[in-house]
C-alpha cells in the first residue's frame, strides 16, 4: 500500500519545508517591528534603564541602530540565524541559553497535556458520536461546553486548591529534581490545559466521526452485513485518526497559550512563566526571543502534522 510513498513523499517533504521559509521570514518581520514600535530609544529598551554608555553603544553597534531600517533588519536576521538573540537583562545571560535551559520543561508539559487531551477527548468523542442525541451524548457535550467556558487559570486554581492543597494528592507547585518527580509535578498543570483543549478536540472529533458514520462506504458496509465492530475498526477508526491528528496539530497554539497560563498558576519554571517575568522586567531581548521560540515550535508541529497526515492519507499531497 505504501510502495510508492517514498519518492512522492520525499518531494512532498521538500516542498513543505520550502513553504516554511516565507512564513518564518514574515514571523521575523513581525517580531522585528514589534520592538521597533516601542517609544524612545530601542538601545535603552534592549539594555535596560541602568545600562552604561559603553553598553548602550555596544547594543547600537550590534543592532545597527544608526543604520537604515533595512540594514537593521538584515542584522537582526543574520544575528538570529547565528543563534544570537542578544542578552537577557533579567537573567544576565545570553537569551538563547536562557531559553534552552527552560525549553525541556515546557516541551514535557506540552507533550503531557497533548497526551492527556487525546486520552480524554478520543474515547468520549466516539461514545458521543455513536450515542448521538441520547443522554450520554448530551451529558458529554454539556460538560465539555462548560469546560470550554472555563478559563485555564481558574481551572488550574480549582485543581490546585482541591487536589493539591486539600487532598494532598499532588504537589502544590514547582518542578522537582528527578525526571519522575518532574512528571509528578507536571500532572496537574498538564491536566488543567488538557481539560480545555480536549473540549475543542472532542467537539470537532465528534462531528468528524459522525460524518464518517454517515458516509456512503460505511452505510454500504452496514448493508453488506459487516459486524459493527469490524466497521468501526476498519473504516471509522482509520478515517477518524486523520481528523484527530489534524485537530491535535492545529490545537498546538491553544495548547501553548494554555501552558503559558498554567505555568504561572503552578509556578512551573518553563518558557511561559519566563515570558511573564520578562514582560514585568521589560526585558525586551528575552520577550523577542521567547516570541520567536513559540512561533518556531508551533510551525514545527504544523510541519509534523502535515507530514503525518500525508503519510496516513496520500491524497493530501496533491494540494
Amino acid at each position: 500500500m505504501f510502495r510508492n510513498v517514498q519518492v512522492g513523499g520525499l518531494r512532498y517533504i521538500l516542498t513543505r519545508l520550502l513553504l516554511m521559509i516565507p512564513t518564518l521570514f514574515l514571523v521575523m518581520v513581525i517580531i522585528f517591528l514589534l520592538v521597533r514600535l516601542l517609544p524612545g530609544d530601542p538601545a535603552i529598551a534592549m539594555a535596560g534603564d541602568r545600562a552604561s554608555d559603553a553598553e548602550l553603544e555596544a547594543i547600537r553597534e550590534r543592532l545597527g541602530l544608526n543604520e537604515p531600517m533595512l540594514v537593521q533588519f538584515w542584522l537582526f536576521l543574520s544575528n538570529t540565524l547565528q543563534g544570537d538573540l542578544g542578552r537577557s537583562i533579567l537573567m544576565r545571560a545570553p537569551v538563547t541559553q536562557t531559553i534552552f535551559d527552560r525549553l525541556p520543561t515546557t516541551l514535557l508539559l506540552t507533550f503531557l497535556a497533548m497526551l492527556l487531551s487525546l486520552l480524554i477527548a478520543g474515547p468520549l468523542a466516539f461514545v458521543a458520536a455513536l450515542r448521538r442525541g441520547r443522554i450520554a451524548d448530551t451529558v458529554i457535550r454539556s460538560t465539555f461546553q462548560v469546560g470550554l467556558s472555563t478559563p485555564v487559570f481558574y481551572l488550574g486554581l480549582l485543581l490546585l486548591t482541591f487536589l493539591a492543597a486539600g487532598l494532598h494528592w499532588f504537589p502544590v507547585g514547582g518542578y522537582g529534581d528527578t525526571f519522575v518527580s518532574n512528571l509528578y509535578h507536571l500532572i496537574l498543570p498538564a491536566m488543567t490545559v488538557a481539560l480545555y483543549t480536549s473540549a475543542i478536540i472532542m467537539r470537532n472529533l465528534r462531528s468528524a466521526v459522525i460524518e464518517v458514520l454517515d458516509a456512503e462506504y460505511v452505510q454500504f458496509a452496514r448493508a453488506k452485513g459487516l459486524a459493527d465492530r469490524l466497521i468501526l475498526g476498519r473504516h471509522v477508526l482509520r478515517n477518524a485518526l486523520i481528523s484527530t491528528v489534524t485537530l491535535v496539530g492545529l490545537s498546538i497554539g491553544n495548547l501553548m497559550s494554555g501552558t503559558l497560563v498554567t505555568e504561572t498558576v503552578f509556578a512551573v519554571p518553563g518558557l511561559g512563566r519566563l515570558m511573564l517575568e520578562a514582560i514585568f522586567a521589560r526585558d525586551y531581548p528575552l520577550i523577542q526571543g521567547l516570541t520567536l521560540t513559540f512561533a518556531v515550535l508551533v510551525s514545527l508541529v504544523f510541519l509534523l502534522t502535515d507530514l503525518f497526515q500525508s503519510w496516513l492519507d496520500p491524497r493530501m499531497r496533491a494540494t
Binding site: L24, Q145, Y154, A165, L260, L276, F280, L290, V298
Partner: protein, 288 residues
C-alpha cells in the same frame, strides 16, 4: 397579490418559523437569558449591587458568605458580591471592545482581498500563515508588553492579532459567494465593484463571520480575564473578574469565596455567549 408581495409574505412566514425554531431550542434560550441578565447587570450595576464596590471596611476583612455579604468580603473588607456585579460592566465591555474592531476590519479586508485576489491576496495569505504560527496568547501578550498593561492597550493588542481570523473567514466566504449567478449578474448590469462587494457579496458572506463573532465574544471574556489575572489587563483596584480571582489567590485555602465566585461569573457568561453562538450557527445554516 403581486409577485414581490407574495415573496415578502413568504419571507415573513419563513422568518417566523425560523424564530419559532430558535425559541424551541433550550440551549439557545438559556444563552439569551444569561446574556440578557448579564447585560442588565453590566448597564445598571449600581441598581443590583448591595454595597459600594470600593467601600473599605477594616472591621469586616475576609468574612465568609453570610446574609449581609452573600459572597463574603475580600482582603480589604469590600463586599465581594458588589465587586462581582460591578465587574460585569468591565467584562461585558470586553466582549464588545475586544471583538468589534477586529470584526469590522476583518470583514472589510476579507471582502476586498477575496474579491480582488491578486498580489494583495498573496501577501494576505502569507500574513495569515505567519500570524497563526504564533500562539494567540503569546502574540497578544507580546504586544501588551510593548504598549504597557491596561484595558485599552489590551483591546488594541487583541484587535491587532484578532482581525486576521475574521478576515480569513470572510475571504473564504466572499470567494464562495462569487461563484453564484447573482455576482456575475451584478457585473453584467455594470454595477461598480464597491456596490457588488458591499451591497451584494458582503450581506451574503457575512453570516458565518457573525456566528464566529459570538464564539469570539466568549473567548474575549476568557482572554480578558486571563490577562487581568496575569496583571496585564484591567488593573486593581478596578473590579474585574480576573483581577478579583488574582486578589483571592493567596487566600484560596482560607477565604475560598474571594476567587470562587468571580470564576463562576466568567464560566456562566462564557457559556451564555457560546450557547448563543451554537444556536445561531444551527439557525443560520443554509439548508437545501
Amino acid at each position: 397579490m403581486t409577485d414581490s408581495q407574495a415573496a415578502s409574505v413568504e419571507a415573513t412566514v419563513r422568518r417566523r418559523s425560523r424564530t419559532g425554531q430558535a425559541l424551541r431550542k433550550p440551549g439557545f434560550m438559556i444563552g439569551v437569558g444569561i446574556i440578557g441578565l448579564s447585560t442588565l447587570l453590566a448597564i445598571f450595576p449600581s441598581v443590583f449591587a448591595p454595597y459600594d464596590p470600593n467601600f473599605i471596611d477594616y472591621n469586616a476583612v475576609r468574612q465568609p458568605p453570610s446574609w449581609a455579604h452573600p459572597f463574603g468580603t475580600d482582603l480589604l473588607g469590600r463586599d465581594s458580591l458588589s465587586r462581582v456585579i460591578w465587574a460585569y460592566s468591565v467584562n461585558m465591555q470586553m466582549a464588545v471592545f475586544a471583538t468589534v474592531f477586529a470584526f469590522t476590519i476583518g470583514v472589510v479586508v476579507g471582502a476586498l482581498v477575496g474579491y480582488y485576489r491578486g498580489v494583495a491576496d498573496m501577501i494576505f495569505g502569507r500574513l495569515v500563515d505567519a500570524i497563526i504560527t504564533f500562539p494567540f496568547l503569546v502574540l497578544v501578550i507580546a504586544v501588551v508588553a510593548v504598549l504597557g498593561p491596561g484595558l485599552v492597550n489590551m483591546y488594541i493588542a487583541i484587535t491587532v492579532v484578532g482581525w486576521v481570523y475574521y478576515a480569513r473567514l470572510m475571504r473564504a466566504e466572499t470567494i464562495a459567494q462569487m461563484g453564484n449567478d447573482y455576482a456575475a449578474a451584478g457585473r453584467v448590469m455594470g454595477y461598480s465593484n464597491a456596490r457588488i462587494i458591499f451591497r451584494h457579496l458582503l450581506p451574503n458572506a457575512i453570516t458565518p463571520v457573525i456566528v464566529y463573532w459570538m464564539t469570539d465574544m466568549a473567548l474575549a471574556i476568557l482572554l480578558g480575564s486571563s490577562l487581568g489575572y496575569l496583571g496585564l489587563g484591567a488593573q486593581p483596584p478596578q473590579a474585574e473578574w480576573g483581577v478579583l480571582i488574582a486578589e483571592g489567590r493567596n487566600f484560596i485555602t482560607t477565604a475560598w469565596w474571594m476567587s470562587l465566585m468571580p470564576g463562576i461569573a466568567i464560566v456562566l457568561t462564557g457559556l451564555g455567549f457560546s450557547l448563543i453562538g451554537d444556536g445561531l450557527a444551527d439557525l443560520l445554516r443554509p439548508r437545501g
